[in-house]
Amino acid sequence: MSETPAVVARDLAKVYRRFQHRNQFKTLKSALLTGSIVTDLTPDQTFTALDGVSFEVPKGTTFGVIGENGSGKSTLLKLLAGITRPTRGTLDVQGRVSALIELGAGFHPEISGRENVAINGIMLGLTRREVAERFRDIVAFAELERFIDAPVKTYSSGMYARLGFAVAIHVDPDVLLIDEVLAVGDEAFTRKCLDKIGEFRRRGKTILIVSHSLGLMEKMCDDVLWLRQGRVADGGDPKRVVDAYLTYVAGGEEALLAREHGQAAGEPAAAVPDEAPGEEATAPGYREGRWGSREVEITAVRLLDDRGHERHVYVPGEPLTIALSVRAQAAVDDFVFGIGLFNADGVSVYGTNTHLEEFEPGTIEGAGEVRFVIEELRLVEGTYLLDVAAHRRDGTPYDYHRGLYTFRVKSRTKDVGVWRPHHRWSFSGGVALEPPAARAELDLHETEE
């Protein structure tokens, strides 16, 4: 790929200087009297928050940063956002950056939501006209139509954060920085945010995300960087890095070392059974969220409705076919096809493969197609991510596509959870309920004339 990466960090270091040597009580007066005003402005204590951090984020990928508290994650985001400058090293960020770091920072409590949106938008780099164009979307996204003319001081903290998120995300940045902000708001709003972030990914925007929610990171990121005390501890495939981090956090430093040894000795598959081997960003043909030896290759993945049309939005109960175009250059006789469905929070909805269902592999050679037909898609509304894979029976991947495909389920019923069982209500005795007017689900078929 000749395209320049969205973010290039080379040997980044950030050293915080501390001015407060016994300085809590130091005043301008004493500084002037003792003539120490010059020395006071020279730091005598330093704290290295980041040290020699290098990484690249290719355009259009989602990049996660994990690490314990104090490992330098937030400092890194601040550098990326341009809030502080690196002490050493270089940092190149291509395009407009929007940071979801402090939602609604800079809102003025006394003036209305409407005016705050305008000013906040300008602060984040929009022109007045752009703000006006996006105003309706912003307010609709924040679900604050009724309150937009009330002073922001009357908002609840959830409303405040929603409005902040809505403005920041409508800046339409090329690079979006997210710092643990998804913890705000209720579940419905969090899901909406995740959907919006998913939409960003599909539109080829670059996302950098810092979070302690490892499941989410594993699910959303194409690449994860693990910071430990300001240095890069590990980086690469999300599942592998998150596993390593969890092993480390669980106090298993020794296990970790053993593991690193195992990998250095070239036995990654043994150390991490069904996960990605050491195919890193340097390998040819590497794509974020995709790995494997490619002896069997998944060349295309299509989501088809009952009429065989490609579609990405479904209503509950509809059939959905996942069609994998596969190809093997040479004949292979040990192969398994699998699929995995996840919701936007990274919760596994369903996963299966041909091995689990006891299909015996014969041979695969040349091109072919594998179809996984879901007769009835019994899911609640939301965005779902799809994993597809071809691998050996022992789990060694040929071609693993992680979360590269998404589809949405839309429903008129706003029920919650993941699964919508086929169900009905019945009432008897003294219970009287008015049944709802019959409403059909939406018809999302393309109209064919």
Partner: protein, 263 residues
Amino acid sequence: MSALAELRKLIRYRMLIQSLVGRELKARYRGSILGFFWSFVNPLLQLLTYGLVFVVILPGRHDPEMEPYLLFFFCGILPWTWFNSSLLEASGVLISGGSLIKKVMFPAEVLPVVTVLTNLAHFVLGLPILLLCLVVYGRLSPSALLLPLPLAIQLLLTVGFALLLSALTVHFRDLQNILSHLLHLWFFASPVLYYYGARTGLARALLRVNPMSHLLVSYQQMLFEGHFDHWRGLAATAVVAVVVFAVGTFLFDRLRDTLAEEV
């Protein structure tokens, strides 16, 4: 960064500055009954207070050139209030705006500039009342057309001081406390209550090195006396304003990196 580059940067951020000034103006009187009228009422109440002291309690203490005294005083107190409030507010503006500087990519110098411009707006809103009074006394003359000149110089000077103070206060919080007293002293060392031309000796020498006195004399001449010949003093003040602005931007830039960490 040179002062010129800084100036260009501020012009680039004009839309942001404009919105923030608008917000400050709106927010300041939000919730009060008189609302925007406070911009007019404030200088009038100030005038009343000083009028009580210097016309009723201590009458006849002023030079004959200053009659009608309240009108003379009005010409000086309006620009002084702009200067005074700008610096007082600017000294705390980075600390109170800390969330912005720490959490979003935000050009910190915008905040003190917004403070100065907001107070300029109050000054400009007070001007019509002053002009009205001048008309009533039959004092308004064409020399009032020169008003933009001292105004522009004062703007540059105030922005320079505001940048300087706002950045220094982050490191030396005491400044905020000292400042109100220093400004009080500065007020009495400036010809607002008395007539510049009538001072002699040490007082005259002190007034001469005070850039604010030349600005005040300019306003007083243009508005109250109806002629203007204080060119040299005003020109010297312009030079001082440029120097203060340059020093302010230089220091602000030097301390910029520490602002987000120290606020």
